[in-house]
């Protein structure tokens, strides 16, 4: 009973309640909502952001932030298009792009861990830098005409009704869930996020853990960039710009503390489902994209405001505890 109560009153419980409410509202708006195809469609349309949100969860739990993810996505997609246009076979181009993603992550990690510049500053500069490189590669052209199998990765169902990108999401979720919740590395991530100095004094190699996270973030952003190029079937220099805010919003709404040390991948998963459902519900009621973005913004603020108000009110409303004799 106590356990049930603790789940119900946890952040995840709160998110679950919101999710149920949004699903009920959406289902009443349109009978098409609760079909498998609509749900898969929802996922597929934002799959790139969702994949990056998973690794961003780990980075924010460790007390850091990566603002360059969307630019790495854009750079990855543009590098693929550029190589493809040069005549490099698509599989080889994909491989090069993955290495490039690792390199971008390692570059960020170098300045953060070796030079000691805050990750907010490094990745902010690289948000501009990597985006610039993407523009250098494709200038103001759009590049398309990728092989059919490549486009199919982003567009066609692969297993049953599920597209390839969804498979990537499930595999990545499983791997990161294991790493964060069940491995020594995951515990180190939480410890560093809670108190970096304590972590260092208890023998955690703080820099190595952080470097690993940023390199993984580069790689996963590159994968997301490739998936985006495959889904859209063409690339442009400004691809995925601004995605970093959506991704961070999803993670924070999922209950990950911006100060580090708190949060879980389940929270992020619930938050993903809520954001997707709200956007879908508003689309069903013909509400435009900009208003949707505003509503997500309000939701983000409310997600922290509500528990704060609860704690504040609780202080005044709680019945006085009986004093021990």
């Amino acid at each position: 009973m106590a356990r049930l109560k603790s789940i119900l009153f946890s952040w995840e419980g709160f998110l679950l309640a919101i999710l149920v409410v949004t699903i009920v509202i959406n289902a009443s708006l349109s009978p098409a909502f609760l079909t498998v195809n609509n749900q898969i469609n929802l996922f597929q349309l934002s799959i790139e952001k969702i994949i990056v949100a998973l690794i961003m969860t780990l980075i924010i739990i460790s007390g850091e932030i990566d603002l360059s993810v969307a630019s790495v996505m854009g750079l990855a997609a543009c590098t693929f298009g550029w190589l493809f246009q040069l005549g490099v076979p698509a599989p080889a181009a994909c491989l090069i792009v993955l290495v490039l993603g690792l390199a971008c992550g390692a570059f960020n990690a170098f300045w953060i861990t070796r030079v000691g510049i805050p990750s907010l500053v490094v990745t902010l500069a690289m948000l501009i830098g990597y985006r610039g490189l993407a523009r250098v590669l494709v200038e103001d052209r759009g590049i398309g005409g990728f092989p059919a199998w490549f486009n199919a990765l982003g567009q066609q169902p692969l297993i049953g009704p599920f597209p390839f990108a969804m498979l990537v999401f499930v595999v990545l979720f499983a791997i990161l869930l294991f790493v964060l919740q069940f491995s020594a590395f995951g515990r180190k991530v939480y410890v560093i996020g809670n108190n970096r100095d304590v972590a260092a004094f208890s023998g955690v190699d703080v820099n190595r853990v952080k470097a690993t996270l940023f390199i993984a973030s580069g790689l996963i952003s590159a994968i997301a960039g490739l998936l985006y190029a495959a889904r859209v079937g063409a690339i442009r220099g400004d691809m995925a710009s601004g995605f970093e805010l959506d991704i961070i919003t999803i993670v924070l709404l999922g209950g990950v503390s911006i100060f580090g040390g708190k949060g879980s991948l389940f929270g992020t998963l619930l938050s993903i489902l809520i954001v997707l459902n709200i956007r879908n519900g508003m689309a069903l009621s013909n509400i435009t994209g900009h208003i949707q973005t505003g509503v997500i913004g309000i939701l983000l603020i409310a997600s922290v405001l509500v528990p704060n108000m609860k704690a504040y009110l609780g202080k005044y409303l709680a019945p006085a505890k009986p004093q021990p004799e």
């Binding site: 300045w111 030079v115 000691g116 510049i117 805050p118 907010l120 500053v121 490094v122 902010l124 500069a125 690289m126 948000l127 501009i128 830098g129 990597y130 985006r131 610039g132 490189l133 523009r135 250098v136 200038e139 103001d140 805010l245 961070i248 919003t249 924070l252 911006i258 100060f259 435009t288 900009h290 208003i291 973005t293 505003g294 997500i296 913004g297 309000i298 983000l300 603020i301 922290v304 405001l305 704060n308 108000m309």
Partner: protein, 352 residues
């Protein structure tokens, strides 16, 4: 020389370093670009710095209190549109009233941020990430996705950026630039000379200690967001008069540029230290780089952004490494002096 190094505070040193870097950039591009040292370069940079400096000063105040304001770009966009809308509807309004209107609209947005951060205790990065989206949505809704064009605006507002206050040997000092410099000076004096200014640093360097010292830290943080909003509002007015054409994307990305100016200007992103003079120099540095790269033949327009990003990173890295070396050096000297002193005392005692 070493004595001087010991006496100069890190902040002053940093400002000196920034000036040196700006001079180096000027010298470098002077060799690369024909007719680089033209008075027009100054005019071009000063008119665009006038807008960014205002936003960056507000951002600096917020960052000094250990917060961040990511909503400034949306505030600039909204006030630019709202102010334009006002003067189109009432072309005979007193210009002072129009400016005041822009400042008040911006301040209103700042109040919302301030209340949520300072009193509802929501982390500023979450609040302003939310209001970044929210204020932009309000703009889209308010404008109905229509834009303002230069032709609709009264003449005085369009001509404002070209009005000269005075000239020094061919270099024109525009009114808008003078206003921005005035704001920087006032903010600098308030931060360094007034008791209330010291509170900003106190709250930023250790919020708990500040509260124990009897500082109303919520009010200080609220004030920082209020000023940041008001300055973004003023910047919105200048944006309107400079560009004339205002669409729903006006001011997009200004939040990141202002954070870059603040960080390059030596304000600690974790609060507690930094100056607005440094911030102004940071804004000038970023703008100078952008403007010079535009004219550099060697670098195509597509390279501009990439080079800018890497240069911002390099300038922060150089600053970080230099400051660390300097502090290490001072500590070592202090330790060596203490040791020499102790040895001298010991030998004296031995002699007695």
């Amino acid at each position: 020389m070493l004595g001087l190094l010991d006496r100069v505070s890190p902040q002053v040193l940093r400002i000196g370093a920034l000036v040196a870097v700006i001079l180096l950039i000027l010298a470098f591009f002077g060799t690369q670009i024909d007719n680089y040292y033209d008075p027009r370069l100054f005019v071009r940079i000063s008119t665009s710095v006038a807008i960014m400096a205002l936003i960056a000063v507000g951002q600096a105040l917020v960052v000094i209190t250990r917060n961040i304001d990511l909503s400034v770009g949306s505030v600039v966009g909204f006030t630019a549109y709202a102010t334009g809308n006002l003067v189109i509807a009432h072309p005979d309004l007193n210009p002072l009233f129009v400016v005041l209107y822009a400042i008040l609209v911006g301040a209103g947005f700042g109040v919302v941020n301030g209340v949520l951060v300072a009193y509802a205790k929501i982390p500023s990065i979450i609040v302003t990430l939310g209001t970044l989206a929210l204020y932009r949505t309000l703009l889209v809704d308010y404008s109905g996705a229509k834009s303002i064009t230069t032709g609709d605006l009264p003449a005085w507002i369009v001509e404002l950026p070209r009005i000269n206050l005075f000239s020094i040997g061919g270099i024109d000092i525009r009114v808008t630039f003078a206003v921005a410099v005035l704001v920087v000076i006032v903010a600098h004096l308030a931060l360094t000379r007034l008791r209330v200014g010291r509170m900003f640093y106190a709250v930023g360097s250790n919020p708990d200690a500040a509260v124990m010292a009897g500082i109303n830290s919520a009010r200080v943080i609220f004030t920082a967001f209020l000023i940041s909003g008001a300055l973004a509002g003023l910047a919105g007015f200048m944006f309107l008069s400079r560009f004339g054409n205002i669409t729903v994307v006006a001011g997009l990305g200004f939040e990141l540029k202002s954070v870059a100016a603040v960080v390059v200007g030596g304000v600690n992103i974790f609060g507690g230290s930094g100056t607005v003079i440094g911030t102004l120099l940071g804004a000038i540095l970023v703008d100078l780089l952008e403007t010079s790269l535009v004219r550099w033949q060697l670098v195509s327009e597509f390279w501009r952004e990439a080079v800018l990003g890497f240069l911002i990173l390099l300038s922060v890295a150089a600053d970080t490494i230099l400051m660390r070396k300097l502090l290490d050096f001072r500590q070592k000297r202090a330790r060596a002096e203490a040791k020499a002193g102790a040895e001298a005392t010991a030998s004296r005692q031995a002699a007695e």
